[in-house]
């Protein structure tokens, strides 16, 4: 399916979902970018994964961005069957306790990647079975990839 067909197929089920338009003059890939509210994410992902014409069965990667005013998680999806791609972006307005529902039950590939987002950006993923730090030590303070992170001198500095 091309981008327009994908969008209409998704909007047939979820009429409220909007495409993120390309900003004039900014570089971006040719994929369809979809804005999904965080509360709706598991439901939308479940549909994208198991609806036969869509069948986005492959999560290429997921990551998070700190936009200073809010956080954003990004999911690159791919269908190994139909070879189409889709990018989902979830906006998280809460900077104090950012949280997005976990999708690791739908794509196990998200298991460690969600843990990495938690580790580096401090975004919680309710529903994840094992939400702990993954790369940094368990007693590390702060979330290094946040833009307001200030590195503290440790015993090696």
């Amino acid at each position: 399916m091309n981008n327009a067909e994908l969008l209409s197929a998704i909007q047939a089920k979820f009429p409220a979902l909007k495409e993120i338009p390309k900003v004039e003059g900014q570089a971006r890939g040719a994929e369809l970018y979809l804005d999904v509210p965080d509360a709706q994410l598991p439901e939308v992902c479940q549909y994208l994964r198991y609806d036969p014409p869509l069948s986005f069965d492959f999560l290429t990667f997921m990551t998070s961005i700190d936009w200073k005013t809010h956080f954003e998680t990004v999911y690159f999806l791919n269908s190994t069957l139909h070879k189409h791609t889709l990018v989902i972006k979830v906006r998280i307005a809460d900077r104090v306790k950012p949280a997005v529902p976990s999708i690791a039950k739908i794509w196990p590939a998200a298991d460690w990647q969600e843990r990495e987002c938690f580790d580096m950006m401090g975004i919680d993923f309710p529903g994840h079975y094992n939400m702990r730090r993954i790369l940094l030590p368990d007693d590390w303070e702060g979330y290094p990839l946040r833009k307001d992170f200030v590195a503290k001198a440790d015993r090696y500095d």
Partner: protein
């Protein structure tokens, strides 16, 4: 058996710290010769059977993504060298692809051919390391001496000649490559590819069809296609399940559409298939190098690009088929000389996740065979 694609549900069970009542707790690593770096796997067993396995990472974490936010775009290429240190050429290339998505640059044809030749040589060198160290894991020492000590050295010598470094190349640059190949280099590559074809036959007699090796790897650590897709597996591990997935064909980059080559796939997805796919890939890489050597013509090696530049705002995702899978860089730019956010899609990290379910149900003596066949590099897992 070990083909359950669902996630483990009880956290206490998946990250053991002590022995279960009727079993044993084994902490494999972080200093263990078969973990290929500093990786710890916490394993509980019931008799000889593994009941749970949980990798413990981060021993080699160097905060590449954070460092990238403070450096200019060309300076980051140096950081990418240190990710998958057995395949630094493809790391450079993948990063440059991502930047070139944001900022279109016309790449001279000769630079594209040099990229392909170096990238495929790197794939052979990386698979040579896999072949040698996997042999050692299983108990065969000789393949290490020939694959790692002889053929890989030849490739590293070729790289040293073209860019001055043996491991961290910084050769593929945004808009082209660092320098043209020295006189006579292409002839040396051609000589090497001719010899290498015979060497791969030697590996087949030494290891591939060695009955002891086959006993240790055939039918062990079976990963099905559905399981591999669900867990985001890419590269030779995915192709071993019989599924043809290769970025060079699915989302072609560089001059790959001009090249004739096959994608070798396995049948059942066991350890031997994962090994065999890599050996076949070396043959395909030789084919690609020979075609590139036939087609390459003299010319420029660097596109027209300023010494210092700003990348237009936006986002770009560039990926390629690295020796270990789909390696990608996702870059968000705000128009300043350094990226606002850079995310690396590391194939080793994502491939390693499956160990949690893949090891379950197999014997403790198979753990090393399965771990080795996934072929991870901890520099890329921990970044």
């Amino acid at each position: 058996m070990a083909n359950d694609t669902s996630l483990p549900t009880i956290a206490a069970e998946v990250f053991p710290t002590k022995a279960p009542e009727t079993g044993m707790f084994i902490s494999l690593g972080p200093q263990h010769p078969s973990t290929h770096g500093v990786l710890r796997v916490a394993i509980t067993t019931d008799g000889e059977i593994v009941t749970s396995a949980q990798p413990d990472l981060g021993y080699l974490h160097r905060a590449t993504e954070k460092l990238a936010e403070k450096r200019t775009y060309p300076q980051i290429i140096v950081l990418t060298d240190r990710l998958d240190y057995l395949a630094a050429m493809t790391n450079n290339w993948s990063y440059c692809l991502a930047v070139e998505k944001l900022m279109p640059v016309a790449i001279p044809e000769r630079a594209d051919y040099l990229r392909i030749i170096c990238g495929e040589l790197q794939r052979i060198a990386s698979h040579c390391v896999f072949l040698g160290t996997y042999g050692i894991d299983i108990g065969a020492f000789t393949p290490f001496l020939v694959a790692f000590g002889r053929e890989r050295e030849r490739i590293l010598d070729l790289f040293e000649e073209i860019c001055g470094a043996r491991l961290t190349y910084n050769y593929i640059r945004i808009g082209g490559v660092m320098a043209d190949s020295p006189t006579g280099w292409e002839e040396k590559v051609r000589k090497f590819t001719k010899e290498m074809e015979g060497r791969i036959k030697e590996y087949d007699t030494l290891l591939t069809y060695n009955p002891i090796f086959m006993d240790r790897t055939k039918g062990i650590g079976i990963m099905g296609k559905d399981m591999a897709i669900a867990w985001g597996i890419t590269g030779p591990n995915m192709r071993a399940t019989g599924f043809k997935a290769d970025v060079r064909k699915d989302d072609p980059y560089g001059l790959y559409p001009k090249m004739q080559f096959d994608i070798p796939v396995g049948t059942v997805g066991d350890c031997w298939d994962r090994y065999w796919v890599r050996v076949q890939e070396m043959r395909e890489s030789l084919k690609i190098i020979n075609q590139a050597l036939d087609q390459i013509k003299p010319g420029d090696t660097m596109g027209k690009i300023a010494k210092t530049f700003r990348v237009p705002a936006g986002e770009g995702y560039g990926h390629l088929e690295a020796p270990r899978g789909d390696l990608g860089f996702y870059i968000v730019s705000d128009g300043t000389p350094s990226p606002y956010r850079m995310h690396i899609r590391p194939p080793s990290f994502i491939n390693l996740q499956i160990l949690q379910v893949l090891l379950k149900g197999w014997k403790i003596s198979d753990v090393i065979a399965i771990l080795g066949s996934i072929d991870i590099v901890l520099g890329e897992v921990d970044r």
